[in-house]
C-alpha cells in the first residue's frame, strides 16, 4: 500500500496528456528553448538598431560611451555571472534532492539579481542628474554631436528592456523559492527550476553582449 502511494507521490506531477515524467520534462525544456529563441529575436531588433546607428555615427558611440561607467558595468557583469552559477547550483541541488541547497542557492541568486538592479538604479539616477534622459527630454550638453540623444535612447531601450527581464526573473525565482520551501521539488520533479534557470542564463548571456557593446567602446 505505502509503496503505491510513494510512487503516486513521485508521479503526481505528470499531466494527463503525457506518457511519463521524462516526456513532460523534455517537452518543457524544448518549450522553454523555443521561448528563448523568441527572446533572442526580440532583443535582436534592438541590437539591429544599435548596429545600424553605430555604422552611421561611429564617433558618436565613442564619445557617448565615456558617460557609461566601465567599472560598475563590469561589476554588474560579475554579479550576473555569479547569479548564473548559483542558479545552476540550485538546479543541481534539486537533482540531488537537497531541499536546503535549492533554497539557499535560489536566495543567493535573488540577492545577486537585486544587487544588479540597485547598481542599475544608481547608474540611471546619475545620468538623470546630468540631464541624460531618453528622447525629447535629453538636455545634456556634454557630448558634441547632434545625434547624441539617439545613442542614449538605444542605451535606455536595451538596458531598460534587459532590466525588465531581470525583474521578471526575480519574480519567477521568488515563486520558485516559496515552492522549494514547501518541498515541492525533488529529484523526480524539478522542471520549473530547470526552465527558470534556462531563462535566467539567457538574461545573463544578453548582458554578456550588452556590456562590451555599450560600455567598452573605446
Amino acid at each position: 500500500m505505502s509503496q503505491t502511494s510513494a510512487i503516486d507521490q513521485l508521479t503526481a506531477h505528470v499531466q494527463h496528456h503525457f506518457v511519463d515524467s521524462d516526456q513532460q520534462f523534455e517537452s518543457a525544456k524544448m518549450g522553454m528553448w523555443v521561448f528563448l529563441v523568441t527572446e533572442i529575436l526580440f532583443f535582436g531588433g534592438l541590437f539591429a538598431a544599435y548596429i545600424v546607428y553605430r555604422a552611421w555615427y561611429p564617433d558618436l558611440y565613442i564619445m557617448a560611451s565615456e558617460q557609461l561607467d566601465t567599472f560598475w558595468g563590469g561589476v554588474n557583469t560579475v554579479v550576473l555571472i555569479g547569479s548564473s552559477l548559483t542558479v545552476a547550483m540550485a538546479i543541481r541541488s534539486a537533482q540531488l534532492n537537497q531541499q536546503k541547497g535549492i533554497v539557499i542557492n535560489l536566495l543567493i541568486t535573488i540577492a545577486l539579481a537585486f544587487v544588479f538592479m540597485v547598481i542599475k538604479y544608481f547608474e540611471y539616477s546619475h545620468k538623470f542628474e546630468l540631464g541624460i534622459f531618453p528622447g525629447a527630454y535629453y538636455t545634456f550638453e556634454g557630448i558634441d554631436h547632434p545625434q547624441a540623444n539617439i545613442f542614449f535612447s538605444i542605451y535606455y531601450m536595451m538596458t531598460g528592456l534587459h532590466g525588465v527581464h531581470v525583474i521578471v526573473g526575480i519574480g519567477l525565482m521568488v515563486w520558485l523559492l516559496v515552492k522549494a520551501r514547501k518541498g515541492v521539488f525533488h529529484s523526480n520533479y524539478y522542471t520549473p527550476v530547470e526552465i527558470t534557470g534556462l531563462y535566467w542564463h539567457l538574461v545573463d548571456i544578453i548582458w554578456i553582449f550588452l556590456f562590451p557593446l555599450l560600455y567598452l567602446i573605446d
Partner: protein, 582 residues
C-alpha cells in the same frame, strides 16, 4: 488483430477500435456550464472559442469593408469625411490581419484538429493554450478601446513619422493591443512545435505526418521567429510616440526607412503565417475528395519549410520606392522571384493528385477548386509586383490591393472556409446543407471576382490605394467593385444562415462522412473529450486510400500504456486461438 513490435523489448497489444457513432457524451457536452468553457484546458473547446472570436472579427472587418466600398461609389463625399475614411481602411486592415487571418487556421482549426491528427490527448501545454486565448482577448479589448477613443488613421502599417508624431489618433493604445496579441501568436506556435515533436502517436514518423501538420509546423516556426521582431518594433514605436526617442524620426536624426525594415521583417513572414496553414488544409481536402494518395508528399512538406525560410529574406519588396539602397532593391527583387517557386511546386502537386482520382465535388472540394484558381492569380500578380520596373509604377496603387486580396481572401479565406466545411462534422457532429453551401460558394466566388478583378485594371491605370476620392475615369471600376462587395456580403450571410441551421437542426454526422484515412476521422463526431480512449497506432501514411479503413482504426489496449494487462493478453490469445481454429 494483434501485431508485434519487433524492434522494442515489450509486446504491444493492438486491437481494432471502431469509432462510436453518434456518441451521447463528447467534448461539447462532457462538462456543462459557462465556467467549464472559460476555464477549459481542452484544446477543442479553446479552438471553438477562437472560432467564435474570429467569426465576430471577420464580421466587423467585413462591415468596415462594405462601408469603405460604399463611400467609394462616387468620387465626392458620400457619407463619411476624409479623416473617417482613413480610420475605416486602417481598422479594416488591422482587424482582418491581426484578429482574423493570423489566428484563423492555426489557432481555430489547428487547435481543434492538431492533437487529433497526431494521436495525442492534448497539446503539450494546455494551460498555456488557454492563456494564449485570453491574451488574444485582452489584445482585442485594447484594440477595441483604441477604436472607440480616438480611432486610428495611420494605415495598418503604422509608418513613421506620421504614426510617431503627427497622427492625432490613438496609436499608443492600438500598438499596445497588437503587442499583446503578438504573444498569443508566439505561444500558440511554441505549443504546436513542441506538440508535433514530442507527442506524436506510436508509429507516426515524420514521413507519415499529415501535410496539415507540416504546414502548421512551418507556420509555427515563422510565428516564433518573426513575431518577436514585430513586438520590439511596436515597443520602439510606442517609445517613439511617448518619449520621442528619435530613431525613426528624421527631425530627431532618425531614419523612417529603418522602421519599415523592422516592420516588414515580421509582416512579410506574417503573410506566410496567413497562407501556409491554408496550403495544409488544401492538401487534406484534395487528397480526401480525390480518394487518392497525395502526389509528391515530400515536395509539399519540404516546400512548406522552404517558404518559411525564404519568406524571411524578401521583406524589402514592400519598400522598393521607400528609399532603400539600389543594392537592397535588386537583391530583394531577385529573392522575391525565388519565393514563388515552392508555392508553384505545391500547385502542380495538387493538380497531379487530382489526376485520375475519384473526385467527389462536395463543398470543401469546391472551395479547394476556388482556392486554386484565385490563389494562382494572386500569386502571379505577386511575382509581377516583385519586378522592380513594374513595382515603380504600381506600388501603392489598387494593383497591390487587388493582389493581396486575391492571395489573402481568394487564397487564405477560401482555404479556411474549405477547412471549416471539411471539419465541421468533426467539430459539431452535424452536417450542413450541401445545396445551400454550394450556392453560397458560387455567390462568394462571383462576388469576389466582381470586387477585385476591376481593381487590377484600376491600379495599373494609376488609381492610388487608400485614397478617399479619385478622378472620374475610375468611377465605373469603383462602382462595379462595390456592387461585387455587396454580392460577396450576401454570400457570407447565406453561409451564416445554413451553418446556424446546421448547429441547431442539422442532420447528425457519422464519424467519417468523407471516408478520409486521416486519424482525426477515426474517432467519433463530435470528438470524445479526451480524444482517444486507446492510444492509436499508426502503420500507414495518412493518404493511403488503397488500404482498407480497418487498418487506420488500430489502437493499443488502453491499460498500462499499451503493454496490456493480463486480461487484455488473455483476450488476445483467445482471439488468436479462435482465428487459428477457423
Amino acid at each position: 488483430m494483434a501485431t508485434e513490435e519487433t524492434a522494442r523489448i515489450k509486446k504491444l497489444q493492438v486491437q481494432r477500435y471502431k469509432p462510436e457513432e453518434n456518441p451521447k457524451v463528447h467534448f461539447l457536452n462532457a462538462e456543462k456550464g459557462i465556467w467549464s468553457w472559460l476555464t477549459t484546458i481542452d484544446h477543442k473547446r479553446i479552438g471553438i472559442m477562437y472560432l467564435a472570436s474570429i467569426a465576430v472579427f471577420f464580421f466587423i472587418g467585413g462591415m468596415l469593408a462594405i462601408l469603405l466600398r460604399t463611400e467609394l461609389l462616387t468620387p465626392a463625399q458620400n457619407f463619411v469625411d476624409a479623416n473617417t475614411y482613413n480610420q475605416i481602411f486602417t481598422l479594416h486592415g488591422a482587424i482582418m490581419i491581426f484578429f482574423f487571418l493570423i489566428p484563423s487556421v492555426p489557432a481555430a482549426l489547428g487547435n481543434l484538429i492538431l492533437p487529433l491528427q497526431l494521436g495525442c490527448k492534448d497539446v503539450a501545454f494546455p494551460r498555456l493554450n488557454l492563456a494564449s486565448y485570453y491574451i488574444y482577448v485582452i489584445g482585442a479589448l485594447f484594440t477595441l478601446t483604441a477604436i472607440f477613443t480616438g480611432g486610428l488613421d495611420t494605415g495598418w502599417t503604422f509608418y513613421t513619422p506620421y504614426s510617431s508624431t503627427t497622427s492625432g489618433s490613438n496609436v499608443l493604445l492600438m500598438t499596445l493591443g497588437i503587442f499583446i496579441l503578438g504573444f498569443s501568436s508566439i505561444l500558440t506556435g511554441l505549443n504546436f512545435i513542441v506538440t508535433i515533436h514530442k507527442l506524436r502517436a506510436p508509429g507516426l514518423t515524420w514521413s507519415k505526418l499529415p501535410l496539415f501538420q507540416w504546414s502548421l509546423y512551418a507556420t509555427s516556426i515563422i510565428q516564433v521567429l518573426a513575431t518577436p521582431v514585430l513586438a520590439i518594433t511596436l515597443l520602439l514605436l510606442t517609445m517613439e510616440r511617448a518619449l520621442s526617442i528619435g530613431i525613426f524620426d528624421p527631425n530627431l536624426g532618425g531614419d523612417p526607412v529603418l522602421y519599415q525594415h523592422f516592420f516588414w521583417f515580421y509582416s512579410h513572414p506574417a503573410v506566410y503565417i496567413m497562407i501556409v496553414p491554408g496550403f495544409g488544409v488544401i492538401s487534406e481536402i484534395i487528397s480526401t475528395f480525390s480518394k487518392k494518395t497525395i502526389f509528391g508528399y515530400w515536395a509539399i512538406a519540404l516546400s512548406s519549410l522552404a517558404i518559411a525560410f525564404i519568406g524571411f529574406l524578401v521583406w524589402g519588396h514592400h519598400m522598393f520606392t521607400a528609399g532603400q539602397s539600389s543594392l537592397a532593391n535588386m537583391v530583394f527583387s531577385f529573392l522575391t522571384f525565388l519565393v514563388g517557386i515552392p508555392t508553384g511546386i505545391k500547385i502542380f502537386n495538387w493538380l497531379a493528385t487530382m489526376y485520375k482520382g475519384s473526385i467527389d465535388m462536395k463543398t470543401p472540394m469546391l472551395y479547394a477548386m476556388v482556392f486554386l484558381f484565385l490563389f494562382t492569380i494572386g500569386g502571379f500578380t505577386g511575382i509581377m509586383l516583385g519586378a522592380l520596373s513594374v513595382d515603380i509604377h504600381v506600388h501603392d496603387t489598387y494593383y497591390v490591393v487587388a493582389h493581396f486580396h486575391y492571395v489573402m481572401m481568394g487564397g487564405m479565406v477560401m482555404a479556411f472556409l474549405g477547412g471549416l466545411h471539411y471539419w465541421w462534422p468533426k467539430m459539431f457532429g452535424k452536417m450542413y446543407s450541401e445545396y445551400w453551401a454550394k450556392i453560397s460558394c458560387a455567390i462568394i466566388f462571383i462576388g469576389f471576382n466582381m470586387t477585385f478583378l476591376p481593381q487590377f485594371v484600376m491600379g495599373s491605370q494609376g488609381m492610388p490605394r487608400r485614397y478617399y476620392n479619385y478622378i472620374d475615369q475610375f468611377q465605373p471600376f469603383h462602382q462595379f467593385s462595390t456592387i461585387g462587395s455587396y454580392v460577396l456580403g450576401i454570400g457570407f450571410f447565406i453561409m451564416f444562415g445554413y451553418l446556424l441551421h446546421s448547429l441547431l437542426r442539422g442532420k447528425k454526422a457519422t464519424a467519417n462522412p468523407w471516408g478520409s484515412r486521416a486519424l482525426e476521422w477515426q474517432v467519433s463526431s463530435p470528438a470524445p473529450q479526451h480524444n482517444f480512449e486507446h492510444t492509436p497506432v499508426i502503420i500507414n501514411g495518412p493518404y493511403d486510400y488503397h488500404k482498407p479503413m480497418s487498418e487506420f482504426q488500430l489502437g493499443i489496449a488502453g491499460s498500462h500504456n499499451g503493454h496490456g494487462s493480463d486480461a487484455d493478453i488473455s483476450q488476445t490469445n483467445k482471439e488468436q486461438a479462435a482465428d487459428k481454429a477457423k
